[in-house]
């Protein structure tokens, strides 16, 4: 039955074509690892600014109550939150673009094609909505919801985007949403949950995706 074998080969090829033409597969796991470290660095600076410890809630340190009283380094909390957010986002994106471009090149694929555009668009709507929502919360002083809300919208963006890239992203998105919702119920842990979601989960999933898809064989 060599005919069968040939047909099986065709089927495998068709499957790969369907995957490659709809999903952006050059997303690098290292992007996630890098984003995770950026987030942890940002949270670390914020802990320093507020003069609190991770899970300090247990010792009666509510980070958002501390924030409104803190003026350090000549900056109020709004400026510090914004500066850290912008720097972390910029660094994470720059690294993400760098590692993903590198991976696409080594696979001989273009970074900016129909599939990557579709992925970005799928993520852009929840992300921008969450970003503006977050800015409004900060502006209005509802800072206890800031961390959970960014987690939830980021998770939604990942779940939505996962249709157009590596499937692992969906699980990561679900976990981010779960952490965010937990944070809404337990606002005192908001910052710690944020560090887990944006920091450790990124590093964990990034590493796993790296070993699964990127590792040079």
């Amino acid at each position: 039955m060599s005919d069968t074998r040939q047909q099986l080969e065709h089927l495998a090829e068709m499957r790969s074509l369907m995957e490659r033409s709809t999903r952006f597969l050059s997303l690098s796991g290292l992007s996630g690892v890098w984003a995770g470290f950026c987030a942890l660095a940002g949270v670390f600076v914020l802990y320093q600014y507020l003069g609190i410890r991770p899970f300090g809630f247990e010792y009666g340190e509510l980070y958002f109550n501390k924030a409104v009283q803190t003026i350090k380094w000549g900056l109020d909390y709004r400026s510090v939150f914004l500066i850290i957010a912008v720097l972390v986002l910029a660094a994470a994106l720059a690294g993400g673009v760098f590692f993903t471009t590198r991976k696409a090149r080594s696979r001989g694929e273009r970074v900016w094609d129909a599939s990557s555009k579709r992925l970005l668009w799928a993520m852009a709507v929840p992300l921008l909505t969450g970003g503006i929502f977050g800015l409004a919360l900060l502006y209005r002083g509802y800072i206890s919801f800031l961390a959970p809300v960014t987690l939830i919208f980021y998770g939604l963006a990942l779940v939505n985007g996962s249709k157009y890239t590596l499937r692992d992203v969906e699980n990561l998105g679900m976990l981010e949403i779960a952490l965010g919702l937990t944070g809404v119920f337990f606002p005192g842990f908001g910052l710690d949950l944020w560090a887990i979601g944006f920091g450790f989960l990124h590093i964990f999933y990034g590493t796993r995706m790296y070993w699964k898809y990127d590792k040079p064989t």
């Binding site: 089927l11 068709m14 074509l17 369907m18 033409s21």
Partner: protein, 103 residues
């Protein structure tokens, strides 16, 4: 077995044509160059496989201008999607029988 073989569509009797249909089955409109890159084909080669599919009305195309450059994009027609699915079903049935014979 013969019965099933007769259900295999001769229009799809080539891996590149199967490839084109696979891409168009899961995408709305795909431009010529993307198809070419995905299938790893030369210009002439891709065109020669698109033609019979067009003749069968399994795919349709439209030409438009992106800036100054003309661009041709392709899509599978309803007829093409049905025919492709029937072909896949026949393939599946054939492989199942093949496996039973081997067992």
């Amino acid at each position: 077995m013969k019965d099933i073989l007769s259900q295999l569509n001769p229009a799809f009797d080539h891996r590149n044509r199967l490839g084109i249909m696979s891409v168009l089955a899961v995408n709305d409109w795909v431009d010529y160059n993307t198809l070419k890159e995905l299938l790893n084909l030369t210009d002439g080669n891709l065109a020669s496989h698109l033609k019979p599919l067009e003749a069968q009305e399994y795919i349709e195309y439209r030409k438009q201008f992106v800036g100054r450059r003309p661009q041709t994009t392709y899509a599978a027609t309803e007829k093409g999607k049905i025919a492709f699915k029937a072909h896949l079903d026949a393939l599946e049935a054939m492989l199942k029988i093949g496996r039973e014979i081997e067992d």
